[in-house]
Symmetry: C2
Subunit: 348 residues, 2 copies
Amino acid sequence: MTTETTEARVLDAIRERRELVNAAIDEELPIQHPERLYEASRYILEAGGKRLRPTVTTLAAEAVTGTEPMGEEFRAFTSLDGEPVDVMRAAVAIEVIQSFTLIHDDIMDEDDLRRGVPAVHEKYDTSTAILAGDTLYSKAFEFMTETGADPAAGLEAMRMLASTCTEICEGQALDVAFETRDDILPEEYLEMVELKTAVLYGAAAATPAILLGADEEVVDALYQYGIDSGRAFQIQDDVLDLTVPSEELGKQRGSDLVEGKETLITLHARQEGLDVDGLVDAETPAEVTEPEVDDAVKSLEATGSIAYARNTAEELTARSKEHLKVLPESESRSLLEDIADYLITRGH
Amino acid sequence: MTTETTEARVLDAIRERRELVNAAIDEELPIQHPERLYEASRYILEAGGKRLRPTVTTLAAEAVTGTEPMGEEFRAFTSLDGEPVDVMRAAVAIEVIQSFTLIHDDIMDEDDLRRGVPAVHEKYDTSTAILAGDTLYSKAFEFMTETGADPAAGLEAMRMLASTCTEICEGQALDVAFETRDDILPEEYLEMVELKTAVLYGAAAATPAILLGADEEVVDALYQYGIDSGRAFQIQDDVLDLTVPSEELGKQRGSDLVEGKETLITLHARQEGLDVDGLVDAETPAEVTEPEVDDAVKSLEATGSIAYARNTAEELTARSKEHLKVLPESESRSLLEDIADYLITRGH
């Protein structure tokens, strides 16, 4: 488990990289003709975000090459063959893909708020939101072709980015399909989480290893690190929805439950025989009361479902850190371990 | 101008390649888990389409290498360095991108019919249509990483595909923006057409040259061939909307005019002082009568606007064929010239 010191280290690492990432986004995605399209494409990127994935990408670059944290310029990072690679551009590509999925998901899920501001389809309109997402999609691929890495490595990174995007679509399709099913198995839920969320963490961690010329063993290990910590991250998100006060969450606590969204918690509770559908009467997050959510949480605690989700997240986190042992010991590797811990101990 | 013989040659070339393209689409895009997503992704591809762009791609491969038409296996086409390249996979990537844009454009334009069947967002729903488009998008990039070409060439082809997709988004954004503007200049319209339609023809023609190791001069010439013939194609589409009987068009003749869509024809007529907005009273294509369209066409003929569009398309076609002169004379090059002619002489 993270101590306050390791959490502080992670937050420092995120903070110092976030500034560089934001500067790189400004450079790579200038507002140009047609301006409205590019403004809409930048809108969610500018509304905030921790830049967790670019933090993972830049740290993994350091861990692969045995560079100390912030020891090298990410725009011309020395590969294992001694050639400069623009690791930051790859990190921006990953973040831009994340942003594209948020924009399209918000249309599909009819979510009107994102990062405390109106979703793109609300701020602009649905057509613009579809197009803004599509633009970010191709821009990410453009960026990934321009890292200056060895062409074979560059092409391999493109392959990973493309197949990752296909998997994210598959995950979102499963998530949408789950809304009208009442017989989802926990393993189906975990497959959905892996596709919808974890593969992009996998790509964030493995891409720098590919670009910098690391062995396949290292690439695979970093990918699995991302997959396992990404799955843990999503499961923790489901726990937070029930356990963190609304004001800290930035939205009504228990929203997932009110909206009938299945999570590892509800699926476990169903298997334990709990009447999950009867836990709250409210039909919308705006209607539900805090005592109603408190009672639901107590029931989910009684079936051991919240503990089950927490344990699963912890096991996945432990496994994700195991994968890193293939890398030489370093301060950067240690920070990657801390990030895995942080993903499941963060408060929001 | 095309004679009936050259049109027959083009239709033969399209027909014999279409079967191979359709077989390749079946192989590359199998219906897999989650099935509904892949069925929706395949739906418009299966509803028809001439496969014009894959025809251009495969013909350009032959023209670049001096191979006679259908003289080599497209799945293992011999590059200029003697290595096998899967040109067909690149052709499928281009066609799949085209299909993705149709699916998303139909949502944005609220077009409910496509190729005589319900649009994907009508047949399924908007969420599925967004996701089906997104899936085709990443699949196209996956295919382009797997052509077996030299990695530097493969990466260059990826770069062209990605920047082409960005430009298509920009073109669609301009098209959407034009709907609420009444001061569009003909050159703005031509820019929109170039981005929305022509760049994909450019990529269709230039990509095989890149993959097969052709000189930059050849790559550029084929790209410009695609750009100019693609612009001519779109302008011809605008002419056809007014001049081809509804039963042949597969939709009401004059639909663009009724819907207030600006074309090179209406923009020219406005410059000539014609009251374009007063040409038809009907508000929807379902309401308009044939005599009303006839009268509108007469007015647009009187200002010379239809002739102007035809002339522009013919000039672009002549220019597109000029670019091909950098290639050695061959039957395949001659067919590429015929296709340029066909694009503006086709009846629908």
